[in-house]
């Protein structure tokens, strides 16, 4: 079946360290993936996206890696800060403009 899931529901990282959040997907037809950050009481905030014809994309302090062979993508956050504490979702778009979300990973930054 179709699904977008996350390996770890929670992740605690020391402030200043790098964070890696993982996501698995099962639909090989998916061609577009997005990472969102959701803080408590707010809507999801776009972080970075990647299309299936790419393996890696970098933004400001964030990098998304896509491994189509094992249907896995990851979000790397460099030098994590207290403001990075949130729930992170990966979302999958199969070209029909409908996003399929996983359950999310809660990232906690330890001072």
């Amino acid at each position: 079946g179709e699904s977008v899931g996350l390996h770890l529901p929670t992740l605690s990282v020391q402030e200043g360290d790098n964070s890696i959040i993982n996501c698995a997907y099962s639909n090989s037809a998916s061609d577009y993936f997005i990472w969102y950050k959701q803080e408590s009481g707010k809507g999801p905030q776009f972080i970075i996206d990647i299309r299936s014809n790419m393996d890696k994309r970098q933004g400001q302090r964030v990098t998304v890696l896509l491994n189509k062979t094992v249907k896995h993508l990851s979000l790397q956050i460099a030098a994590t800060q207290p403001g990075d504490s949130a729930v992170y979702f990966c979302a999958e778009n199969k070209g029909d403009e409908k996003l399929t979300f996983g359950t999310g990973t809660r990232l906690t930054i330890i001072p």
Binding site: K98, L99, G102, T103
Partner: protein, 111 residues
Amino acid sequence: DAGVTQSPTHLIKTRGQQVTLRCSPKSGHDTVSWYQQALGQGPQFIFQYYEEEERQRGNFPDRFSGHQFPNYSSELNVNALLLGDSALYLCASSSEPDTQYFGPGTRLTVL
């Protein structure tokens, strides 16, 4: 440039009642999608509107209906409310086929 806005912020209803939620898309966006997010879960796609027509629909009953106006704003209507309809309702806008940007959501509580 205003982002996606939603109203109201919070809403309390009783079982059997009807509710209307509103969304104004980001400037320049013509597509509006609605999602339901239960506590501790990822957003679930309800439906999408484009050119005032419902273009995509997720696995939600007919009690959930919507509308898009000529100015691209949208409404989500839910009839015969159930306790299980309590959730955060998110609106996302896009200028197809681009990324969806989310509003802050409307927190609906059904008693």
